[in-house]
């Protein structure tokens, strides 16, 4: 089941959704857009294990990871 993983102070928060459910997919897309608008970076893993950055919602991605914007340390 597709999962959206958001890094946060608890470690991470996960939201699962059914890609075949129109409403669930719309909610997931809205969540994606909201996080990206807040400066989060979204990334997915390919089958080969490579990580790619994504800027558009992909309902078929098994896992989409979000991390907060980067700042100089």
């Amino acid at each position: 089941m597709p999962t959206q993983i958001v890094m946060d102070h608890t470690g991470d928060s996960r939201t699962y959704f059914d890609a075949k459910d129109v409403q669930a997919r719309a909610n997931a897309e809205a969540r994606f857009k909201k996080l990206v608008a807040r400066g989060f970076t979204a990334a997915v893993r390919t089958q080969a294990g490579e990580v790619t950055r994504v800027t558009a919602f992909d309902p078929n991605a098994e896992e989409t990871l979000f991390f907060p914007r980067l700042v100089g340390g």
């Binding site: 890094m7 470690g11 950055r53 907060p68 700042v71 100089g72």
Partner: protein
């Protein structure tokens, strides 16, 4: 006559087992443990093996092809390395907010592998120091 009471030793063993189970669950469910599990799931097996054995893992920048070493930790833990594997200069950037070390290292890896220039644009540079002590062990 049969006694329906459980022997005291059995009750004690049960209590100990429950306590151990609770302690194990608590230890595995901390934010640091969750961050490390997420990191393990997203790095390559070779990178995870490096991290476990050497205390760091290496990534290749997507824009320049340069190699970087990400040490265990949250800050001042990224070093650019040359073709001989020597540390050149340090880069410091972190995801905003107080995240677990595993989460920070994962964000740093993804940033360097997918948007190296943007990551370095916000990073602060620092000169490599404490190299010997860092290479000897894990610096959390």
């Amino acid at each position: 006559m049969l006694s329906l009471r459980r022997p005291a030793s059995a009750g004690r063993l049960l209590a100990q087992s429950v306590r151990r189970l609770y302690e194990k669950f608590s230890a595995e469910n901390t934010r640091e443990a969750r961050g490390l599990r997420l990191l393990r799931d997203w790095v390559t097996p070779a990178q995870w093996n490096q991290l476990e054995t050497l205390g760091y893992f290496e990534v290749v920048g997507c824009d320049t092809g340069k190699r970087y070493r990400i040490y265990r930790g949250r800050m001042t833990n990224i070093y650019e390395i040359d073709e001989f594997g020597c540390l050149r200069e340090g880069w410091c950037f972190v995801p905003f907010g107080f995240l677990a070390a595993g989460d920070v290292m994962l964000a740093q890896k993804i940033a360097l592998e997918t948007s190296e220039s943007a990551a370095l644009a916000v990073a602060n540079r620092f000169l490599p120091r404490r190299l010997v002590s860092r290479d000897r062990g894990h610096a959390w």
